[in-house]
């Protein structure tokens, strides 16, 4: 195929601005699928594709487009993960493109993720075609969005395509714009092979399937390849594209995007961003930008009942086959027994994993509050990284601690500036930027410790701005901070699973809030329970749960018996889900009590 007829692009957007709908419409209008196939294949393809022996990701597809002049173009529409947790994956996918469609909701305008994605696209020097979507809605204001695009994004808004993906308006114009503006890929088919590995997933029939963009050279079935970051070698068994139906190809040439099956058994043998080259005639230089993705958020996962430990381990093992970005290692908590310390890319990622473990693997989980990683500097010059506050005890001669910082971007209506400033100040945020996107809408940027947003920042931001604020963050660096470990004691015993690392200036408030929350979460028991918050040996806050002295139903006659029994059975169910620590029974929610400490 002629490179000039090839267009590789992604669709990027803030959540709910209409990315998937536009993608579906593009597939439909290029004839990738018949309308009736659309639903089963694109939106709900998993089972169907498994039967064929291969799974596809819905929207990384190769489409054939014939324009009004009768010229035929091949579009590779490359899917990107839609969330901030997966920024690196997004950036790798974008590195496979020459252009993007930047979708903006005509009723909402530019949002935080619009900007985050746009910045990524600009870093890759991609051609940006603005697509203003949802113009059919009564509250659509495309002119305002155009102004925002020009003022904030420095994008020529004249080129913006007005679209209603839902109504099928402007789809042809989008495709014309792709042809007209997005440059075809470059690359020499005769150079040594250089492919970007930008996505990979595990298929239980075929092993790992990777998506690659051939940057230089030519890849053929039967070639022996090497992954440059890991040094692993494989033989190419199959190449092809998804139209979205799977279509085999013998050869992928410079500029082309496609899938590769190469008898790869484990997902962690394929690193997103890695360079694939021939083992015989390798390229001298790997593609730039590769990095090992490291988990940013950690949480302890414990089975509610000890006999589910093996089940949890198996579940994590299986889950990692599909998601190599999850890390886990066995850990023991004096409070919770045997479990795993798991690492996630971010909060959403953590939620997804927890959800899958419960739903797909049926493990009753107790999860401890999420924490970030800290760098511990010892007096003898060592640096130790910890992912669990409880581990701080094991380190002697601590000189100082460093915590990760992010730069957080918030876009909100201007009337919430005060609220946002107050919230970010409470969270130790340092404002680095404030600018009006247009009269009425403001962009605020903060350098803020990751530990301050990892708990409930986003929820707080949303609720205090009536849902109007959008938020995105990016990791910057580690910075020295005056941090201390806050412990919780129940009847004098430290509950390691409740320990947290907090800033010294906030420790009193957080300690006070934490014990107060715990008091609300822990039901009265048959004996008094003392809840204490302590820093080292110094108790800084205390609450007492008085012993339950009266718990007796006044009446139980004929009509009450069934109801009463069911009520007690339900209580018993809840009791079984509690974790026994010493003599104290603690419900799952208590372990997340730290989530609700305002520290005010």
């Amino acid at each position: 195929m002629n490179q000039n007829q090839l267009r590789n692009f992604s669709i990027i957007a803030h959540i709910d601005h209409g990315k998937s709908t536009l993608a579906d419409k593009l597939i439909l209008s290029t004839g990738g699928l018949e309308k009736r196939e659309m639903k089963e294949q694109v939106l709900d393809n998993m089972d169907l594709e498994r039967e064929r022996g291969i799974t596809i990701k819905a929207q990384t597809v190769c489409l054939s487009y014939k324009n009004a002049k009768g010229e035929i173009y091949t579009f590779n529409m490359i899917d990107t993960p839609g969330h901030v947790d997966f920024t690196y994956e997004v950036s790798r996918s974008l590195a496979a493109c020459e252009g993007v469609l930047l979708v903006v909701d005509a009723t909402q305008g530019i949002q935080a993720q619009t900007l985050a994605n746009l910045n990524l696209a600009m870093q890759h020097d991609l051609y940006i075609i603005p697509v203003i979507n949802k113009i059919d809605l009564p509250s659509a204001d495309p002119d305002n969005v155009k102004e925002q695009l020009e003022d904030i994004c420095q994008i020529e808004a004249d080129e913006a395509v007005l679209v209603s993906a839902k109504e099928g308006i402007g789809i042809e114009e989008v495709m014309n714009a792709v042809v007209a503006h997005i440059p075809p890929p470059t690359g020499d088919c005769d150079s040594p092979l250089k492919c970007l590995l930008f996505d990979a997933w595990y298929d239980s029939y075929r092993g790992v399937i990777v998506l690659i963009k051939v940057k230089e050279g030519t890849l053929k079935t039967g070639d022996e390849i090497v992954m440059m970051a890991t040094g692993n070698k494989f033989t190419v068994e199959e190449l092809g594209v998804f139209t979205p139906a799977q279509q085999r190809k013998e050869i992928l040439r410079a500029g082309e995007v496609g899938y590769m099956v190469a008898n790869i058994k484990q997902l962690d043998q394929t690193k997103i961003g890695d360079t694939v080259t021939h083992s015989q005639k390798p390229t001298s230089e790997a593609l730039p930008g590769y990095k090992e993705v490291k988990p940013m958020v950690f949480s302890g996962l414990y089975p509610i009942s000890g006999d589910q430990y093996e089940m949890l381990r198996d579940a994590l093992k299986k889950l990692r086959l599909n998601d190599a970005s999850v890390s886990y290692e066995a850990e023991t908590s004096t409070a919770l027994g045997f479990g795993f310390r798991c690492g996630f890319l971010g909060l959403l990622h953590m939620e997804i994993v927890r959800e899958r473990l419960t739903r797909e693997y049926h493990v009753d989980l107790l999860t401890t509050a999420p924490t970030v990683v800290y760098n511990i500097f010892t007096t003898d010059g060592q640096v130790i990284q910890i992912d669990n506050p409880a581990k701080l005890n094991e380190i002697k001669n601590i000189d100082h601690l460093e915590e990760p910082y992010v730069v957080g971007t918030i876009i909100a209506p201007e009337e919430y500036i005060g609220t946002i400033m107050a919230l970010t100040r409470d969270r130790r945020g340092n404002q680095v930027k404030m600018e009006y996107l247009n009269p009425g809408t403001v962009l605020l940027q903060y350098e803020i410790p990751f530990n301050e947003i990892v708990l409930d920042f986003y929820d707080k931001l949303k609720s205090s701005t009536k849902g109007f604020a959008s938020f995105d963050y990016e990791f910057i660096d580690f910075r020295a901070s005056n941090l201390v470990k806050l412990d919780v004691l129940l009847n004098g015993e430290v509950v390691d699973a409740l320990s947290m690392i907090v800033h010294k200036d906030k420790v009193y408030f957080q300690g006070r809030d934490l014990v107060k929350n715990l008091k609300e979460q822990i039901p009265r028991q048959m004996y008094e329970v003392a809840i204490q918050a302590a820093v080292g040996s110094k108790v800084i806050a205390r609450q007492t749960i008085k012993a339950l002295r009266k718990n007796v139903l006044a009446k139980c006659y004929g009509g009450d018996i069934t109801r009463k029994r069911k009520l007690l059975e339900k209580q018993k169910e809840g009791k079984k889900k509690m974790k026994q620590i010493g003599k104290v029974e603690i419900p799952q929610e208590a372990f997340l009590a730290v989530l609700r400490t305002d520290g005010k």
């Binding site: 006044a554 007690l568 059975e569």
Partner: protein, 379 residues
């Protein structure tokens, strides 16, 4: 012959009280006739069928307010029971009455008809408390009703009181107890006010317009009842019930011993041959269903052995003398001690139960934590 406790529900009241979550409805004279007719018809159904060959050991007319029915219906009901069932000679025949719904003549006719036990819903002797509870009777009417009941010949009389009312003082509760005892009732029930879902009180409480005394204070009320009433010579035989020697409510004892009962009428519950079932609540619907199919069961469940065991303990532990172990083992064909080995040792260690070879009972400490103790025995 297996004996049976027979319960009849009369779902009508002059007025619904704020705390009440019983199946009660405003009186409706037209419907009431149809209701009694349906009740008699349902009775015939069970007498011929599921409850055939059973001897009726106790009869209890509850509500609602049974005495809202014209007395001829109350006579008719008892007469029909006697016609349809084999009623034991010493059958305890109770009915609930509210002050302000009875006068001497109907009481006399009921006594003559064979009713031999009256349970009067006093709740409080104090006007402000009665008002708070939404009761429609006055203090004076309580005195009258007790007097008339005695005059009509009821020598087995029970009074109901309620404590831990919003704003109630200990002095007020002590006076209530003293007044009740001065009537020299054969039986006295003292109930801790509880706020049940879907009651007017529940709504008020949710809105912050009704505040109960704190738990610890409620407990003091309860302890005061036990102390005062037992010192007056009554036996504390169930969590909320006291009686003079051999004046336990035999009908309720059947519930607490988890024995068989047949409930007739709207919303009434039964436990027969290991199955629990319950009629629909709404009188109009009950009447319609009885007319068309002679029964009005809307829920039934066959209990698994483990559930039945749990229920037996849940109910048996309410009795101060506790649950009799040999019948339990006989009934469930299992060793009590083996089945509940761990629970028993943990509860004994905490001093919450007393246990000998034949009985398990709540200790004085365990009494106040009855639900927590019972919970341990449930699967």
């Amino acid at each position: 012959m297996n004996s049976l406790g027979l319960y009849l529900h009369i779902p009508y009241c002059l007025h619904k009280c704020g705390y009440c979550d019983f199946n009660s409805h405003k009186i409706n004279t037209e419907e009431m006739d149809a209701y009694v007719t349906a009740l008699l018809r349902e009775m015939a159904h069970y007498a011929k069928g599921p409850a055939k060959d059973r001897q009726i050991a106790t009869i209890f007319l509850g509500g609602g307010t049974p005495t809202t029915l014209p007395v001829h219906w109350l006579e008719e009901i008892l007469k029909t029971i006697r016609d349809r069932f084999n009623v034991a000679d010493d059958c305890e025949i109770s009915f609930e009455a509210n002050p302000a719904t009875v006068s001497l003549e109907p009481l006399q006719r009921m006594r003559t008809a064979g009713y031999n036990r009256i349970s009067i819903g006093v709740q409080s002797f104090h006007e402000p408390e009665l008002k708070l509870l939404d009761r429609i009777h006055s203090e004076e009417e309580i005195h009258m009703t007790v007097e008339k009941a005695r005059e009509a010949g009821f020598d087995n009389l029970s009074l109901d009181l309620m404590f831990a009312l919003p704003g109630q003082t200990m002095a007020s509760w002590e006076d209530n107890l003293a007044q009740a005892l001065s009537k020299n009732p054969e039986h006295l029930s003292t109930y801790n006010l509880t706020i049940e879902p879907e009651t007017a009180f529940h709504t008020l409480k949710a809105k912050g317009k009704l505040t109960l005394p704190p738990d610890d204070f409620q407990l003091e009320f309860y302890k005061k009842s036990i102390q005062t009433v037992t010192e007056a010579g009554y036996r504390h035989y169930e969590i909320s019930n006291f009686c003079k020697p051999e004046k336990e409510c035999r009908h309720n004892l059947i519930y607490w011993n988890n024995g068989d009962t047949l409930g007739l009428g709207a919303g009434a519950s039964s436990y027969l041959d290991g199955s629990r079932f319950k009629n629909c609540n709404l009188p109009a619907r009950y009447i319609r269903e009885i007319e068309t199919q002679s029964t009005a069961v809307e829920f039934s469940e066959q209990l698994e052995s483990r559930q039945a065991m749990g229920e037996t303990l849940m109910l048996g532990l309410r009795l101060r003398e506790g649950m009799n172990i040999p019948p339990f083992e006989e009934r469930f064909q299992t060793s009590f001690h083996k089945t509940y080995d761990e629970v028993i040792s943990s509860l004994t260690k905490k001093n919450l139960i007393t246990l000998d070879k034949n009985r398990i009972a709540l200790s004085p400490e365990g009494l106040f934590l009855a639900d927590s103790v019972i919970l341990e025995f449930l699967a």
